[in-house]
Structure formats: C-alpha cells, structure tokens
C-alpha cells in the first residue's frame, strides 16, 4: 500500500525498458520492437566504429571543458558576493536565481533570435557595432565555431542561479567560530577564502562538479533549439543525446543501434558517477 505503487511503476517504466533495450541492442531492429534477426555485438561495434558517435562524445568533452569550470567559478563567485552583501541581499539572490524559471527553449529563443541573431540589431552585434566592429554571423557558420559561445552562455545563464543556491547553503553551514578564529589570527580576504571557506565547501563543490558533469552529458535542449533550423540539424556539434535522438527516432527508427547507443551512454555515465563517488569518499578518508 505504501511502497507497492512506486515499486511497480519503477519496474514497469524504468527496469523493463532498460532490460528490453539491452535485448534490442543485440538485434537488427529497424522500425520494430520485436526483432528476429540476432546480430550479436554487431550494433555495439557499429556504434563504436561510427565516427559520428565518437565525435558526439568529443562534442560532449569540448562542451564540458567550457561549461563545467565556468559555471562552477561564476556560481561560487556569485554565492560569495551575495553572502557578504547586507544591502538588498534577497534581491540579488532572486535576480541570479530567476533564470531557473526559464526553460531551455525560451532561453534558446532569446539567445538565437535576439542576443546572437546574425543581424545588426541583435544585441551582441549592436554592442560590437558601438565599438566599430563588424557584425558576426554567430550561428550560421561552422567555422569559426562562434556557436559555442551562444550555447555555453545560454546554459550558463540558466544554471548559475541553481548552483549559487547550493553554494550559499554550503556557506551558511560554515561555523562562524572559524571566521572569528581567522580574524584573531589576522587573516582576511583571499586568505580566509583559501584556508576556510573553500575547504569547508568541499562536499558542496564535489556535488556541484558531479551535477555539472552529468547535466552536461545530457545536454540536448539548447543544442536542438539553437542549432536546428527549418527542422534540420547541422552535421557538426551533435552531443550524445542529439546523436542518439536522430539515430533512434529520426527517419530510420533504428532501435537496435539506438539501444546499443543508449546502453553505452548509460554505462559511461554510471561509471563516471561511481568513480566520482569513490574519489569523494577516498578524499574524505584522507582528512
């Protein structure tokens, strides 16, 4: 009566699909979910050999290299600034947090059609124009890859407030006596941050890094909405889920390869989570 409904739902809607998918991944399953032609590890080998699949993993790495450190630093910085401000503290907190209400679709729209629209009245080009710099076609060219700036800043704006809240909660948990002791020792500014605040935020920092990484791995919404035009997505800048979406649910409905891809991605993310959990725990033991 208590746990039953949840367990049944979890089995039917999470475990059954995963098991079914593992089964499908060993079959030739174009347009069918009850395949008959067994292909063994063929789908997996195809996926690993497919340059498009490998490049989707590279796209994720490139994206993570941009987004993880910038979000981490900016949200920590915002939390530190907000935590030290007495005047209008809740106003500033709300301003940074407000974009969390926005969906990726809405942010993509503002970024694509207003800030980074290729025309001269787009905000980014208007600002460049005030300094006498020519307009930049932010999204229509593959090279130079200006689209990265568009995609990274959109996610940054959406996510900073969320992680700032986590850091703020962490900062509030730090005992004031630590700061008093530091003040008596004459430490201030950067030294206090370096020796007290940052070490005390270790658990929060690790959780934030893991969340940032896992969320970057699942990036789909802003790539899809910013980069696809007239219903077609360019052949470059396809992160794993975008690649999977077009493989499994595009015109081909290739569930065999799609399932193999899903299994590979799930394994990667589970391994990352477990490894990171281990590293965290090992680190704690070291203290």
């Amino acid at each position: 009566m208590f746990v039953g409904p949840f367990v049944i739902g979890l089995v039917v809607f999470v475990y059954v699909p995963i098991v079914w998918s593992i089964y499908l991944s060993f079959f030739n399953a174009y347009n069918t979910v009850t395949p008959t032609e067994f292909v063994g590890a063929g789908n997996y080998l195809d996926m690993l050999r497919d340059p498009a699949f490998r490049s989707s993993l590279l796209t994720f790495v490139a994206f993570a290299v941009f987004i993880v450190p910038t979000t981490f630093v900016i949200s920590l910085g915002a939390a530190l600034l907000v935590a030290r401000t007495r005047v209008m503290q809740s106003f500033f907190r709300s301003v940074f947090f407000l974009p969390t209400a926005c969906s990726y679709v809405v942010a993509a729209l503002i970024w694509k059609m207003s800030i980074f629209s290729g025309i001269r009245s787009g905000l980014a080009n208007a600002v460049l124009g005030w300094f006498g710099i020519d307009s930049v076609p932010w999204l229509s060219l593959a090279d130079p890859p200006w689209y990265w700036l568009v995609i990274v800043t959109a996610r940054l704006w959406l996510q900073v407030g969320f992680y700032m809240i986590l850091f703020l909660a962490g900062i509030q948990r730090i005992s004031p006596t630590l700061y008093e002791a530091a003040a008596i020792d004459g430490a201030e500014g950067w030294k206090v941050f370096r020796h007290i605040t940052f070490p005390q935020l270790r658990a929060t920092s690790t959780a934030v890094l893991l969340l940032l990484l896992v969320n970057a791995f699942q990036a789909f919404d802003e790539f899809y909405n910013i980069l696809s035009t007239f219903g077609t997505y360019p052949p470059y800048a396809r992160p794993p889920l975008v690649y999977l979406y077009y493989t499994a649910l595009g015109s081909g409905q290739d569930f065999g390869h799609g399932s193999a891809g899903a299994v590979i991605l799930t394994l990667i993310i589970a391994i990352v989570a477990v490894v990171q959990g281990r590293v965290l725990r090992l680190g704690d033991r070291g203290e």
């Binding site: 009566m1 208590f2 746990v3 409904p5 949840f6 979890l10 809607f13 999470v14 699909p17 079914w20 998918s21 499908l24 979910v33 915002a78 600034l81 030290r84 401000t85 005047v87 500033f92 709300s94 947090f97 407000l98 974009p99 969390t100 209400a101 926005c102 969906s103 990726y104 679709v105 809405v106 729209l109 800030i115 025309i119 001269r120 009245s121 905000l123 704006w157 969320f162 809240i165 986590l166 909660a169 658990a203 893991l210 699942q218 789909f220 919404d221 899809y224 909405n225 007239f230 889920l241 979406y245 649910l249 569930f255 399932s259 991605l265 799930t266 993310i269 589970a270 989570a273 959990g277």
Partner: protein, 283 residues
C-alpha cells in the same frame, strides 16, 4: 594609522563588491528585458538594422494574434502543459511520499533491496534512457497521448529517496502517540505526518512542477501530434521553423514563462529549499 588604512581599504572592497554585484545582476536581467521588449515590438522594428532600447510602438496585438494563429496551438499547448505539470506533481508527491514513508518506517522484508534499486536508479539520468522508454510507450500505444506524457514520469527515484531521508528524521514520538490512539500506519501518515511536513512537500512539489513545465526531450519524443504538444514543444516548433512572426514568437515565450514567474514571485522560499534538497542529495 594601520587601522584607519584598513578601514578605508575594506570600504573600498565593499564598494567593489557591490559594483560587481550590480553589474552582474544587470547582465542577468538583460535576457528578460529583451524578451519583454521584443514581445511588444512590431515586426518591422524587430527586423530593422538599428537596435531599439524600447519598442518605438508598443504592439499589444502580438498577444491577441498569438491565440488566433493556427500555426501555433497556444491555448491547447498551455492546457496540456498545465494538466501534465499538475497531475505529475501531485502524482509524484503521493507516490514518492508514500513509498518514502514506507521505506523509512515500515519494516518490510524487501526494504533493503528496494532501497538499493532506488539508489542504483539515481546513477542513471532519465534522459539517457529515452530510447528504451520510447520503445515501451510506443508498444503500449501511448504515443501522442497525455498518458504517455504523464505516467512514465510519475515514478521518481530521487523524490522517493528524498522523502525517505526526510521521514527518517521525522520525530518518532509524535507518530508513536498517534499509533497509541489506534491510527495505524495509513492514518498516522495522512493525519499526522503529512500535515507536519507541508514545507518539505512544498519544496519537492515546486521543483517537480518547474521541471515538468520546462521539460523538453520527453514531450518532444512522445508528443508527435499537435494535439499533444506541450507549450515547450509548440514554442520549439515555432522557433526552429524560422517563422516570419518573430515578435509573436517572443510573446509566446513570455506567455509560456509567465506561470513560473508568478511561482517565483510567491513561492520562491520553497523553490530555494527544493533546490537545496535535490541538489545535494548525494551528500
């Protein structure tokens, strides 16, 4: 002397900090400003090569025209989003609340197995398994139905995990008193535990509502027919089709985030708590 200098210095640092905050806050508000400005601009002003700080003419017909535009089923998609977000939020709260309480308080034989299977599920983000879920939902014949959009999202391992942790910390004495009065687990849960946990319920509820309202990948995969579009899918279709009516597109986006902006205005406290609870679940 040294004290005076350091006081001056700290005042300087204070001003620098404050200016940095103001500049950053303005930058964060720019996209909202552009959204509102563009939603009330005329099409020809949006397309003109000059940047306008304010609409030269405030165009309100973007709003009325939006609901008459057959290319974007705005009313229907808002209704769908509302229905999905409300039922999903209530469903998750009831299902995960019950399960979390059961796991925290009732000694089942399989409690540990269930708990570890939940933790294992937490490692796998739902988005990565959208292909398997799509396969199941299409086999059930639930493509382009509200059932298909709502039911698979009702069983949230994270929410159940959080409810379990929360109920483990619930004061046992209160429950024991209720038990002595003969309420049993069911009665104790609904009459004693839930009324005393409304803050936590609000935190999980608001976060679930926001996540569902803003969800994109699953509604994109399942909502194939126009009748089953959520407002995010309607917007996205309008956006990626590069439709000519850009100002109307901005108005549509403004309408789409309006309910959540209201929530932020009135329920921010619970949303913040929800973020804190869900974000650091790994601790």
């Amino acid at each position: 002397m040294a004290i005076v200098r350091s006081r001056k210095q700290s005042r300087l640092v204070g001003w620098a900090r404050y200016s940095a905050l103001v500049v950053a806050a303005l930058l964060f508000l720019v996209p909202f400003y552009l959204l509102v400005r563009s939603a009330f601009m005329r099409e020809q002003d949006l397309g003109s090569p000059d940047f306008h700080w304010l609409p030269p003419v405030w165009e309100t017909s973007n709003l009325t025209g939006l609901f008459d535009n057959p290319a974007i089923p705005m009313a229907r998609s808002l209704l769908n989003s509302g229905l999905i977000a409300v039922t999903q939020t209530v469903g998750v709260l009831v299902i995960s609340g019950l399960a979390g309480y059961g796991l925290a308080r009732i000694p089942y034989r399989w409690s540990n197995t269930v708990f570890y299977s939940i933790v294992a599920t937490l490692l796998i983000p739902a988005a990565v398994t959208f292909v398997p879920s799509f396969v199941l939902v299409s086999t059930l014949g639930w493509i382009s139905t509200l059932r298909g959009l709502i039911i698979p999202g009702l069983f949230q391992a994270l929410a159940t995990f959080l409810f379990r942790q929360f109920f483990l910390g619930f004061p046992k004495e209160i429950e024991e008193a209720a038990f002595i009065d003969g309420l049993g687990y069911w009665g104790t849960f609904w009459r004693i535990v839930v009324p005393n946990s409304l803050g936590f319920v609000a935190a999980i509820g608001t976060i679930t509502f926001i996540g569902t309202w803003n969800a994109f990948l699953w509604p994109l995969v399942i909502g194939r027919d126009q009748e089953s579009w959520t407002v995010q899918i309607a917007l996205s279709t309008f956006l990626t089709a590069q439709s000519v009516q850009v100002s109307q597109l901005f108005m549509a986006a403004l309408v789409a985030i309006f309910p959540l902006l209201l929530m932020f205005l009135f329920l921010q406290r619970w949303i913040v708590e929800g973020v804190e609870r869900t974000g650091i679940a790994g601790d």
